[in-house]
Symmetry: D2
Subunit: 438 residues, 4 copies
Amino acid sequence: MRKSGLKIAVIGGGSSYTPELVEGFIKHYKELPVTELVLVDVEAGKDKLETVGRLAERMIAAAGVPIRLSMTLNRREAIAGADFVATQMRIGLLAARSRDEKIPLKHGLIGQETTGAGGFAKALRTIPVILDICKDMEELAPDAFLVNFTNPAGIVTEAVIKYSSVRTVGLCNLPIGTRMQIADIYGIDVARVQTEMVGINHLNWTTRIWIDGEDITRSFLSKAAGSSGLTMKNIPDFEWDDEFLQAVGALPCSYHRYYYMRNKMLGHMQEKFQEHGTTRADDVLKVEAELFELYKDKALAVKPPQLEKRGGAYYSEAAVNLIRAIYNNTGNIQTVNVKNNGVLPFLPDDASVEINCVIDAAGAHPIQPSAPVTAHMRGMLQVVKAYEELTVKAAVEGSYEAGLEALTLHPLVGDAALAKVVLDEILQENEAWLSRFQ
Amino acid sequence: MRKSGLKIAVIGGGSSYTPELVEGFIKHYKELPVTELVLVDVEAGKDKLETVGRLAERMIAAAGVPIRLSMTLNRREAIAGADFVATQMRIGLLAARSRDEKIPLKHGLIGQETTGAGGFAKALRTIPVILDICKDMEELAPDAFLVNFTNPAGIVTEAVIKYSSVRTVGLCNLPIGTRMQIADIYGIDVARVQTEMVGINHLNWTTRIWIDGEDITRSFLSKAAGSSGLTMKNIPDFEWDDEFLQAVGALPCSYHRYYYMRNKMLGHMQEKFQEHGTTRADDVLKVEAELFELYKDKALAVKPPQLEKRGGAYYSEAAVNLIRAIYNNTGNIQTVNVKNNGVLPFLPDDASVEINCVIDAAGAHPIQPSAPVTAHMRGMLQVVKAYEELTVKAAVEGSYEAGLEALTLHPLVGDAALAKVVLDEILQENEAWLSRFQ
Amino acid sequence: MRKSGLKIAVIGGGSSYTPELVEGFIKHYKELPVTELVLVDVEAGKDKLETVGRLAERMIAAAGVPIRLSMTLNRREAIAGADFVATQMRIGLLAARSRDEKIPLKHGLIGQETTGAGGFAKALRTIPVILDICKDMEELAPDAFLVNFTNPAGIVTEAVIKYSSVRTVGLCNLPIGTRMQIADIYGIDVARVQTEMVGINHLNWTTRIWIDGEDITRSFLSKAAGSSGLTMKNIPDFEWDDEFLQAVGALPCSYHRYYYMRNKMLGHMQEKFQEHGTTRADDVLKVEAELFELYKDKALAVKPPQLEKRGGAYYSEAAVNLIRAIYNNTGNIQTVNVKNNGVLPFLPDDASVEINCVIDAAGAHPIQPSAPVTAHMRGMLQVVKAYEELTVKAAVEGSYEAGLEALTLHPLVGDAALAKVVLDEILQENEAWLSRFQ
Amino acid sequence: MRKSGLKIAVIGGGSSYTPELVEGFIKHYKELPVTELVLVDVEAGKDKLETVGRLAERMIAAAGVPIRLSMTLNRREAIAGADFVATQMRIGLLAARSRDEKIPLKHGLIGQETTGAGGFAKALRTIPVILDICKDMEELAPDAFLVNFTNPAGIVTEAVIKYSSVRTVGLCNLPIGTRMQIADIYGIDVARVQTEMVGINHLNWTTRIWIDGEDITRSFLSKAAGSSGLTMKNIPDFEWDDEFLQAVGALPCSYHRYYYMRNKMLGHMQEKFQEHGTTRADDVLKVEAELFELYKDKALAVKPPQLEKRGGAYYSEAAVNLIRAIYNNTGNIQTVNVKNNGVLPFLPDDASVEINCVIDAAGAHPIQPSAPVTAHMRGMLQVVKAYEELTVKAAVEGSYEAGLEALTLHPLVGDAALAKVVLDEILQENEAWLSRFQ
């Protein structure tokens, strides 16, 4: 891939996360000499794009790297000739997220941005947009990689795999975050920690952990049971039960709490919702407003530390690592979302899975897991993946039937009558984005 | 198989269902000339065996067929040289069933004999016994067929498939019952109705229905949505939602109500439990007491009509149909529980599945489904089958870990903390039968 | 399917086999009341069509059944509204077959009509025509069944499965012939013989044989080793080696001789070819000429016994059995060629396989084999099936590359340089029919 | 794995290849600090062991590295506590190889050490010995890696996978040799060449080739067609046909010549055999005698350049690379033989495959191929793998039947009568090593 210029387009460039990403490109400029960085956003995000873009310009100037930055509302222009297209957009903005979280909660269900009925709603809004982007890429940048950060990343990546010829890698900061958390627990440098992760996005298990090449999985699980810090910013740090971890034989990811600690998590959410009428989206709205105030400060020429509260820790790390490995054909190992193609033989070949891959100039190549994927993991992955498959179908075909099948099947919904009520509300509240549903 | 004598051993011969079975053998004596019928039971069931056995003797005498009936507490004697061994035993009797139903209910979960945590408890008690029976069969009747009616029939059959060389077919009256119900709705003879069923025991869908060879599936689903009578005796006759049936594209089985109508079913059970402190087991206990009073009547020489209330409709029909087809090598089609072996490629090869089979002297041969098994069905079957796999493992190995993984995975449990509480209670209440758990 | 009228179109109606088929329809008129029978052929076969058609008319008249017979060169007219379309055409007539057999022989390879390079050539000519027929059916008789008798039947059926939505069953007289041969060896009625066959067309094994429901496979194999008569008319009756049959554990089909007895068969063919310059096609040409002379005799109103020499024994039996079972929704078991769909999990899902199926109004439903398919069978099926897959690709895409890959892979060719020479000759000699190859 | 001492046992330590291996250990001592190197051989190889051992001692002394070398005839002693056990033994020595090559040739078949009937004979002799070694390892060095270089490496590795719990990696110098040959053709350093190889041992294809991360596969294939040097020492350098390479779309390995150029290769072998009565084994015998004369020279303290003629180029490279990567947990990519486990989904899970793997302290982890494995490759791999499966069965069970099935199935044998003759001769000539065959 090494060539004269390197162009990266960031869709949803007006996101509050962008300074994180820009910091990464600056820091790793030597191995990843970005020539052209285009931030693109929609009309409604014009002001935010302007604010963030100006900050990015100041950051680049301060760092003294020759990255050419531009901002645009013309997506096709941004994509044309790009080597990488990174997507981090949020259809309907945080207001839509707030509704996604509240509809399920009103009916006694987990209301979460990416998991369960909330993630379902987000997928319906996002998939048509990502497929439009792919069409542009097929035409204007057919050799580019789509680095998809947009949630629900697993479902969105699966839609791209199934309905587009674009080369794509779905990316999440959870895998790298988990490795960091493990390193923190041991108080060691993350470079000494190796992990094997297996599953699907926001539902993976760390099945093996090595420190300096020595397998310490079992002893880690005992340690993990009493440890705090094994979670992401946006998920309460409820501790894992020792006997349960030993039974599962692997470290569940942060999002597993919505399944394994369903009652506790639901109680936690409902308390907040009933007392304050708010959900996580509302908190984020506040943080974002504060961030944009900071971003406007013309004296600011670095990523402000307050961004960390936002929840996207290691986002830049993950994205830059991936793009660097592809660009430099390094052949190192990262946990990303790719087409299954039989690496987890109990899931469909065209499903997206989140798994350790060798990353090189040809993309991400899944490595066969060395630890057994147990019946417990398999069953959970299969049912949630079938839900995801139906969700993709519902979004692409605008199919009410597929939507009803999807929600009824989801372990966090289950009841068909309830699924129907929730589905009807989701369709109504999101009518503006769901033209495919008549 | 046709030979001089035909010996059938019925384990759990003291069951109230036995007159049903005996009636079947009498009715079909011509095509199935049973020479020797042995009813065997355990010490604790001695009186019931005596009562039922005497009734059976009177029935046979009244019918004038030359079936030699005997009763024994010696299981090995009963099995030796048998051509068919039918099992219909209930480990721990109805008292254990009552506990199986109440433990989950106390914690806000569906409390059902075969589905969810209740069925899990029953499986733990039953599997060690069935495997002991298999050992006897391997030694004393290696060519015999095990016709397993013992619930949870799918899980029990899977244990036999995995841990024994005995030829087995798992049998349930639900498939034949469903065909009868469909015939009733159309007011036609059941012989004109053909069905394709697919799934696992107590979780199958009727994916295609033909009347006189014409596929009427779609029109039937509309009809089914407004119809009563599509259920078994022991499951409330809540009607199916039309839009939901159209989305699923197939008729769910009666037991699907515990999943699809979870909230309504739970409410129904909790109402009864909170008001009267009872569950279905308690009703059955009463019915059984009445039945045994009737059975003692020396004037009675036929199956009393009151048996129908018990819930085992078509039990005799199903069992005799199966045994006749094997004995006479008929090659007709029945829906039974067999080793998967790839006929549902998304389930493990050694899983038990409930599926249309050709029945002949060599056993039951699965027929490839003609209707697609949708992503919705697949996901549901996979997660419940993974639960069943873990349940078999827990029962055979006495593994607490596998038990905890199983219950946590079950869609009707889900929460790990709750699973642990329920598991602990189940193990404690059933200590007498669970020597494999230390 | 039962309805007012039943229309059957026979493509290649001018074939010498047609009287066989007509005899079957007459004989089974009661269960299969054909209203309209249309014989269709191409311009070049007009005279033969006329001759055969007249004979058929006389046969029908003599039998006194109300079948309306017609002859036409208009294929679309024949197909329109048909319930069944049977194909028995031979593209390029016997002259092409003669070349198919001679090209390989010239290079020291088995030269056979359906197996090896000869069958490859025939497939290239036939597939474009069958797909044209399917297009007509999709338009003019979308609910009809295509009963494909045209060789190589397995490859041709696979092309239809992959490139058409037409419902099809591939049919061969070998399975029914094998059952007849087994019955003959035991001197019993064929109705008492049950067989399990597994494989692909012209490459199947009879893995289990029952007489009156008793499994006699092993003892039969010893008997088979010393028996003559286990072959089709067109294949020399070389006997099987006892040790070899015991090793394989199943009865190979007649065509297996081209593989297992390669050297002997090749010697036999080369002798004839070198001495007389002829192959089987030349013999058949002679037989056919004689047959057509007989057919012209206006006094003839039955199928002449001389037809048996032609090699299509039981053809009528097989075809009428299949059509009857579909028409009457009988649910009986026949060995036919259908889409694999996982019933042989080691072959691609969209491959055609020849396997025991339940036949009913919805078509042919594969039954899971009860006998294990051994590694030996698996390996042989896989390599020949991969050859078939490449052959279909070559024919449909007109791909020289796929053709070269196919022939090189075939166990009866093997050498790439030789494959190339043979391929080039085949393409040259068949130029008239291979417009897809530039 | 890093710890105080590193012990490596070399079984077949008296081989003429050993100086190659020792040179590797010396050269890479820094990253692979071998503490203890034990050469072990059988009584019959005592003299050679002595000669080679002395040379190795001199090499180590001259290099000044603190490797403790020992020689022994006590295999258990050598294995006890080893970290790596490398096997490079030859059961029956070169005399047996000579017979392996000549028996098939006498009957007009390819007579080759590892491919076809010759490799079959070698496998029968070798498998019982390797499984004995594994038993010792399970007892005396349960955590050690078995690095198997013994041919036929794919079949031998498969036996270990199926019948032992030992961790094993099968190794061949062909993959690294192919990369070297490609680099030579381009005149560049091998480090710039990346390859994707897929298949089984001695039957793999290089499906993708990158230089500096750029995919040059297609242009390489045109280059390869006219290039010499794409072969191993022991295989004639016949050039590939351009059209054929384009059709296959990948570079066949050297051993593919026995299949694709069957007639030419056979002619070449027969010429030598008929003229001189010799095969490759006889040449090697001569080279070996010369080498051992050189080895005896007490002035010699380096690997003599004449060893290169022997055919094991890059053997040391391959072995040391593998052991280093495991020892240092490097996570780099090498092409080795491992358990399939679904990475090639069309081969059995417990088959050995030769494929790109990530190598780290936990062993070799297959990477999913990025290039499609075509139908042509698949068919060839499947039939040869089924032959290998039957060969392992024959060797382990001493089964004549499995042996006959294996040879008949092999594409280079084919005819059953011929297979039987060859099998009988092989069993007779190797009686001394085949006690499992009665």
